[in-house]
């Protein structure tokens, strides 16, 4: 695998964009009826609790838009990103959606990550009939609590991720599982999804240890882990997560149960940081493998180069600046779905927004490609949620090595809603 692929080289070869990119700017959009740009309102967490994610979501978004524009834009029109900061605040999020629709003349809204902002903003997008493409991982889209104008076609949801993990855990790590999770919604999503999935595989959840969110020391909770635990499933998040790992390591002294975690805990943190040594040999779920795998697809290699991250998922300009690699591909893929949807719908202006929704709802299989570097996906038009492969990696010598890829079928669950029955 050539790890030194340059950004331009990789993209031009792969995208077949060589001809388009070499044309002068005026010629690239010559076929368009209007050269008025397609305006995509990017609801960005520039400030607030989501800022670390927002920065990388922004970087991925800019890279995807550059590629789309280099290839000739959407329906021959250039794409323009209008980024508004929502402060990772649901009330502000709703205001931002309103600005997209009423002030900036955006064709669609896009890019929201944090669940509470999605839940706060989606109703307004529905009222304004603004197609709203979220990249949040939340199960709120497929649960039916949102509306027909809200879609999540570029990233899988937590419920599907968790249930896809269960067979691997019980078959390879152990059948007696203890869960440690933060005592609020995020932790409950894991608790509620994993328990039944483990039991369906013939395993057993021995204990569910909920940790108060403001806790910064964990040693008093570890004695609650049953002695016959074979797998410890942990999904701690927040500033104290490094302390959690360190104290867990000190408690077990390297002789504890198998560890299985979600990369959310250590997103944007170098896995080989001192203090995290205890994670050696443990397993993680990853939405996309941060560290380059030997069989990485050329699409993913090109994606890394375009976003500007190296083989360890860190910024090319600063190897210590680790990206939110497990999630940010969702922005890239969603933008390509918006493009595909607008092209299928023959999108010309705001009046075609319902047609865009219908075009995306009609999507099903999305093959692995430069538009989908994370892998093949299957979209469920009724629930507005996409399903895809999940990756399980093991820390070996400070590197996350992929040991398993789940099948799409393993992550599918019964429909909870049919948004297509709602009026447009």
């Amino acid at each position: 695998m050539n790890m030194k692929t340059t950004r331009r080289g990789a993209l031009t070869t792969l995208a077949g964009a060589a001809s388009a990119a070499s044309l002068p700017l005026w010629a690239r959009y010559a076929q368009a009826q209007t050269s008025e740009p397609i305006r995509i309102g990017f609801q960005q967490h520039s400030t607030g609790i989501g800022a670390a994610y927002g920065r990388w979501y922004g970087r991925t978004t800019q890279a995807a838009v550059k590629l789309i524009n280099d290839e000739g834009g959407i329906n021959g029109r250039p794409v323009e990103i209008i980024a508004e900061d929502d402060g990772t605040d649901p009330k502000r999020g709703a205001e931002v959606v309103e600005k997209f629709a009423n002030q900036h003349g955006c064709d669609v809204g896009f890019g929201t990550l944090f669940s509470h902002v999605v839940v706060g903003s989606a109703p307004r997008a529905g009222e304004l009939k603004l197609p709203y493409f979220v990249v949040s991982e939340g199960t709120h889209v497929s649960s039916g609590m949102l509306n027909r104008y809200t879609l999540q076609p570029g990233i899988t949801d937590v419920r599907s991720q968790v249930i896809a993990m269960a067979p691997f855990i019980t078959e390879n790590l152990g059948k007696k599982v203890t869960m440690i999770f933060p005592d609020y919604g995020f932790g409950y999503d894991h608790r509620d999804a994993l328990g039944p999935a483990i039991e369906a595989q013939g395993g057993k959840v021995l204990a569910k240890i909920a940790i108060p969110p403001s806790e910064t020391s964990f040693t008093k909770y570890f004695p609650k882990i049953p002695r016959d635990t074979e797998v410890l499933y942990h999904v701690m998040v927040g500033p104290a997560v490094l302390t959690f790992v360190k104290e867990l390591g000190e408690f077990f002294g390297g002789r504890g149960p198998q560890l299985f975690g979600f990369i959310d805990s250590l997103e944007a943190v170098a896995i080989d940081s001192s203090g995290l040594d205890f994670l050696e040999g443990s397993h993680f779920w990853e939405g996309m493998c941060r560290h380059q795998q030997p069989d990485e697809s050329p699409y993913e290699t090109a994606y890394r180069a375009a976003v500007g991250v190296d083989a360890r998922g860190a910024s090319l300009s600063d190897p210590a600046d680790v990206s939110t690699y497990g999630h940010m591909f969702g922005c890239w893929e969603t933008l390509h779905i918006i493009k595909a949807g607008m092209e299928a719908a023959g999108y010309r202006g705001h009046a075609d927004r319902p047609a865009l929704i219908e075009a995306v709802e009609a999507m099903t299989d999305m093959p692995e490609s430069l538009a989908h570097p994370q892998g093949t996906k299957r979209f469920n038009g009724k629930t507005h949620q996409v399903f895809g492969h999940q990756f399980i990696t093991r820390v070996q010598n400070g590197t996350l090595k992929r040991v398993h890829t789940t099948a799409i079928d393993e992550s599918v669950y019964p429909d909870m809603v049919d948004y297509t029955t709602q009026p447009l």
Partner: protein, 450 residues
């Protein structure tokens, strides 16, 4: 939330801070300040005062040159407001929020406090005021009512603090452009109507900058530009009037609350989950109340320490007089905490500011040659850099308190109290300052939820 919403809840940085032996660092910081107090007990009475000796340098520049730079600043401000209204909607790309919150509030306030009164050159009103005066030939038609003192500036600063800490989107370019534009216009009107007294008593930014300017190493002494240990100007100037003294206390109280409102502790008080912070819109009322309570609390504790000190030393000074005399000693503490609190934001947003200045009008320019440059937060991701950043922050806090102790002692001795009684009278204030050091360091070490 650090800088008015330019927050960096960077879990990795805080994670590494939680792994540092901050308890030991905090104890060491507190001990340093306490040792300073003990040292003053054994040193000869004038020792503290001599530390603040002054070295005269150059003759000061002319007023006309300052009006010229002020006019340039006005022009820049107009360009920034135009960018705020019509430039990028992204607060991390638009030059206005970056210049206001990172360039001025973090950067310039810090430089003003370290170097001296740069605001004299950069104030965007005085040049315009002088030009209007010259064009119309009219002097200010009204006299500034003396009894108002600096209270209008305090009201202005309170409004600023409310915007910084409780507004839902203080970095939104258009929202900020309107606020800055209206404020600039209103204060220019005040300047035209009431003359320069308006600037130095009623305009909150100028009062704030001049207060911090007292801390600068450079200042005026005997008609010349002079250099000394930061704080020397506090000793050479007259004690401020009561309204300005209260302003100085509020500077510290507001800065402290700016740190406090981000902590897990404060989230706990509000009953919020710090890992799922619901956003600024959920804490508008709470932050405004907290801001008022924090300032009233600080004023009460500071006044209590002074009152006890005056009783012990039997100086015969009234409480208001003591407050005016010692309030400037809080300036180095406020400045030290300002630097510490905003250091992490400065490291990140400084990069965004550089990128914005590289292309100030959003035209794809690269004036500074920063093509293909990415903002990094990699220094928050390694234990070594995080430790260095934290110790730099702690150093600023401790240095601020040490200077505060030295200044308080020098002021007490200068005021005619004999050294033993001065030290005795200072004991309550010293305890307050050691306690405040520990509080400031605790704020830096606490996990934050925004």
């Amino acid at each position: 939330m650090s800088c008015a919403g330019l927050a960096h809840a960077h879990a990795a940085e805080q994670g590494f801070v939680l792994l540092l032996p901050t308890d030991i660092y905090i104890a060491a910081g507190g001990a340093t300040v306490a040792l300073t107090v003990l040292l003053l007990l054994v040193l000869p009475p004038g020792a503290a005062h001599r530390l603040f000796a002054v070295l005269p340098l150059l003759a000061p520049a002319t007023v006309r040159a300052r009006h010229l730079t002020s006019l340039v600043m006005t022009l820049i401000l107009v360009l920034l407001i135009w960018q705020g209204l019509y430039g990028s909607r992204d607060p991390l790309r638009n030059a206005l929020p970056l210049m206001v919150w990172t360039g001025w509030w973090i950067g310039l306030v810090t430089l003003q406090g370290l170097l001296g009164n740069l605001w004299r050159w950069l104030n965007p009103w005085t040049g315009a005021g002088a030009m209007l005066h010259r064009v119309t030939g009219q002097a200010a038609p009204l006299r500034y009512p003396r009894r108002l003192g600096h209270w209008p500036a305090l009201a202005g600063f309170a409004a600023f603090a409310g915007f910084l800490l409780a507004d839902i989107a203080p970095t939104d370019p258009a929202r900020l452009a309107v606020a800055v534009g209206l404020y600039w216009y209103a204060m220019l009107l005040g300047l035209v109507l009431f003359g320069p007294a308006w600037m130095v008593r009623a305009e909150a930014i100028t009062v704030l900058m001049r207060a911090y300017g007292r801390m600068g190493a450079l200042g005026r002494a005997k008609g010349r530009l002079a250099l000394g240990l930061p704080g020397w100007q506090v000793l050479t100037r007259r004690a401020p009037p009561l309204s300005l003294a209260v302003f100085m206390v509020v500077l510290l109280g507001t800065g402290s609350f700016d740190g406090l409102n981000e902590t897990f502790w404060w989230m706990g008080v509000l009953g919020l989950n710090p890992l799922e912070f619901p956003g600024r819109s959920a804490v508008v009322g709470a932050n405004l109340s907290g801001l008022v309570l924090a300032n009233l609390g600080l004023l009460a504790v500071f006044a209590l320490a002074l009152w006890l000190g005056e009783r012990l030393a039997r100086t015969g000074r009234g409480l208001a007089q003591a407050l005016c005399l010692f309030a400037p000693t809080l300036l180095p503490i406020a400045l030290g905490y300002h630097i510490a609190h905003y250091l992490t934001a400065a490291l990140v947003e400084g990069q965004y500011l550089a990128l914005a200045l590289d292309d100030p009008l959003g035209r794809g320019w690269h004036i500074l040659g920063l093509e293909d440059a990415y903002v990094t937060t990699g220094f928050f991701n390694t234990p070594d850099t995080v430790r260095r950043i934290w110790l730099a922050q702690a150093g600023a806090v401790v240095a601020g308190h040490v200077i505060a102790i030295l200044l308080a002692h020098a002021l007490a001795v200068r005021d005619g109290t004999d050294a033993r009684r001065a030290v005795l009278g200072q004991a309550p204030l010293a305890i307050f300052m050691v306690g405040y050091t520990i509080f400031g360091l605790w704020l830096l070490a606490s996990p934050r939820g925004i």
